[in-house]
Amino acid sequence: MCLSNSDLEVSVCLRMRDFESSDGRGILTVFHRPLSTWFFLTTHGMWYQDIKPERADISIDLRTGGTTLVISHEQNFYRLIKAIKSIPLFHLSVDALVVVREGRDSTPWGVHSKIKDGEIRRVNCRETLKVTPLTFHAASSGIHRIGFYHRIMAFQQSLSKRIARALSLGGNIPTPYEIFSVEEKQEIRGSLAALLSGIIKWGRIDIDVLKEELTTSVIEPPKEELRGVMYLLRNLDADITPEITWDRGKGLTLSFKAFSGVRDKYVESSLNYINRVCLGRLRCYDGLLEEFEREEKSLGKFDLVLDFSEQMGPLDIYLILMMLKSAGILEKCENLWLIGTPLTYPTATYSLLYIRKCLPSEGISSRLVISSEDPAFSRVIAKRVSGDRNKKIIYLAAGPTSHVISFYKTLLEEKGRENVRAIPLSPHK
């Protein structure tokens, strides 16, 4: 990799906003530092590494969508490199990985690494954006179904406030990026760069690989939209913040003022593609507020059970909490059970961190549950979650088919029809 002077202005760098968790117990140990959170997501929740790097940047080339992960470290240099080399980075896929040592002229990694060290020092991105660990992870995520979902998830997260406003939801719950003290504009630009880079790579995926997917929920790769996506990425300027509108029954629509004057069929089709893949699923929230409001009159203390789908993330938590608040029932919620499966467990855990940070510690108790498609296992979970027979449960069903069936069936058997309210979270109305 050799970058010439003309290349210097064609990339943006993403850097995780630095933070240290104040509480080092339990789940929060995983999210002690930004890098440990990134390790957790990238290894599909198999690992965390409590190493503080001097620098961890992802450079996104705005011409090609290519990504370079640059990690530098001064202390315990070998420790970080060894960690990256030896742990199972299931979700990592960048075009180049460069490890550099700060503040030294020489490196113990031989001539080849020394040259790279020299090259990478000259990289001077157009801008460095401070983003959340989810967005950083999204930019480094693999080009497969789940990797693409993570990019969409990060972009959705960055639009939290705007989506809530479009849905006319009021309330003072902090957004997922606010708990990391990340600025909305930087998060939007960072996650959009990660998304567009992902779309470009998704557009080049081998179609035979996609045919082998056994699920219907695979997002179709872009075709003629690709040209427009390239245009958007190259023009990712400072004032890129989109507007979101909501048409009841039809869903949410995103538009960029910056591109409103561009009369180009490729740009238009690419914007339609982004709308479809990023906001299409969110139709499932059309009408959920009304469902909560209908419950409000007869509802006493209740428990909320959220069965996580593979496309859900922190935005979903934010919207659900905002809707509970708007319907006036958030205070009545005693327990919030976040149910992940082996597939969704990393993003469900990350979402739990958000819940813990945005809700006061007293009041709602939030728990992470790991369930599975095995009925013999999910029945045990449903019995555990059922608790007091007379307390009402609202079950938001978005998990895998077999899990929803066996879980809901057991809830009914345990609590009776009058104490269980199941609401399907599905874009198909």
Binding site: S86, F90, L368, D374, P375, V380, I381
Partner: protein, 366 residues
């Protein structure tokens, strides 16, 4: 250290695959294990090879035991000749012979194999996840998810249901104890037992009528579905031999009617009682429950909209009709063909490990 000493208290798990966590939908394998030797504080992966001296060329695997990278051991079926060694530069490619490895411990394990595999089949999704933790998980993550009894901190951060081991099946408890052993989280040898009888045996269909809901499917998945339903019908046919042919109803939408036709065409041969019906999604739950009344099974394949799933459960619950069963097609390890080979190998006879554990799509009652 003598082999028998090393194997004392060890758990040996032969011949299985580990799948990527999205194996619910697709199944690229991420690890093929010939023999996994689980020890206190680590594990050893053993490859069985005809010619282990050259095996690193086609099989260069490294695994994690949570403490550092671990090279694979290669096992030769015959004693190595004088001066024979690996010609390939690989970190400590230790080669051992079968004679060194065979011990009373391995022989004892043969008796546990069928019941262990039966339970793994029943809890496959969660067991695959636990196996991933076993191979790849850091001790920190394992301790977070699967806290030990001695864990001083108790609170909302403990992950359900692993915080209450009394709720868990003996097999899951046993697997968790193995993870703790390998990750050095406990000094005890593995605790617990797994039951000899598995409840809810997969693929055991007692109904005479099958109502299949067919949403839009990917072409690859349709192929798998056809193969699986053929086997289910064959099984039904053998069970209802004296009472006539099983009855199959295919329920689809306009959009999925082509898939339905393909399925009907494939299944129709030799099956006189097969019919298909196109219905709007809004009608699916009513029609399915009506058709399955009196002892049928409603089989859900692929991604059926969540609304339909809720309606189905509600309708069956309201009818109080316990004869209607709900089922889905899930990935499960097939009964391995090489189980006898493995037993022969442990007894010290010939072996052939060409086929390891594979997965198949089977009917599971929900």
């Amino acid at each position: 250290m003598p082999c028998d000493e090393l194997l004392k208290g060890a758990h040996i798990e032969p011949s299985f695959h580990l799948y990527h966590p999205d194996m619910v939908y697709s199944n690229p394998r991420i690890a093929e294990i010939d023999i996994l030797l689980l020890l206190n504080g680590g594990y050893v992966c053993i490859e069985l090879k005809e010619e282990p001296q050259s095996s690193p060329i086609d099989s260069l695997k490294f695994f994690q035991n949570g403490l550092g990278s671990q090279a694979v051991l290669y096992m030769s079926k015959k004693s190595l000749g004088h001066g024979e060694a690996s010609n390939v530069a690989v970190l400590n490619p230790l080669i051992i012979t079968r004679e060194d490895f065979i011990s009373e411990k391995l022989k004892e394990w043969v008796d546990n194999l069928p019941k262990f595999r039966k339970k793994r089949r029943e809890f496959f999704s969660i067991d695959n996840f636990l196996c991933a933790l076993l191979l790849y998980g850091s001790p920190g993550i394992c301790n977070l998810l699967l806290p030990s009894k001695r864990e001083s901190y108790k609170g909302p951060d403990l992950v359900v249901p692993f915080d209450r081991s009394e709720d868990l099946d003996d097999f899951i408890k046993y697997r968790i104890s193995l993870i703790k052993l390998v990750k050095g989280l406990t000094r005890d040898t593995h605790e617990g037992r797994f039951n000899e009888t598995a409840e809810g045996e997969v693929g055991d269909l007692k109904s005479k009528k099958l109502v299949i809901l067919i949403p839009t499917l990917s072409p690859s998945f349709l192929k798998e579905v056809v193969r699986s339903i053929e086997l289910i019908i064959e099984e039904m046919r053998s069970k209802t031999e004296l009472e006539g042919l099983p009855e199959v109803v295919l329920l689809c939408t306009e959009r999925s009617s082509d898939y339905c036709k393909k399925l009907q065409c494939k299944l129709g041969e030799g099956l006189s009682k097969i019919k298909s019906e196109v219905a709007r999604l809004e009608e699916w739950s009513s029609k399915a429950v009506e058709e399955a009344s009196g002892g049928g099974t409603i089989l859900l394949i692929g991604e059926v909209p969540k609304r339909i799933l809720i309606e189905l459960v509600d309708k069956i619950y309201e009818k109080r009709d316990e004869s209607i069963k709900l089922a889905s097609l899930l990935w499960r390890p097939s009964h391995p063909e090489n189980e006898n080979d493995l037993k022969e190998f442990i007894k010290g006879n010939k072996y052939d490990f060409k086929s390891r554990e594979e997965i198949e799509l089977v009917l599971v009652e929900l």
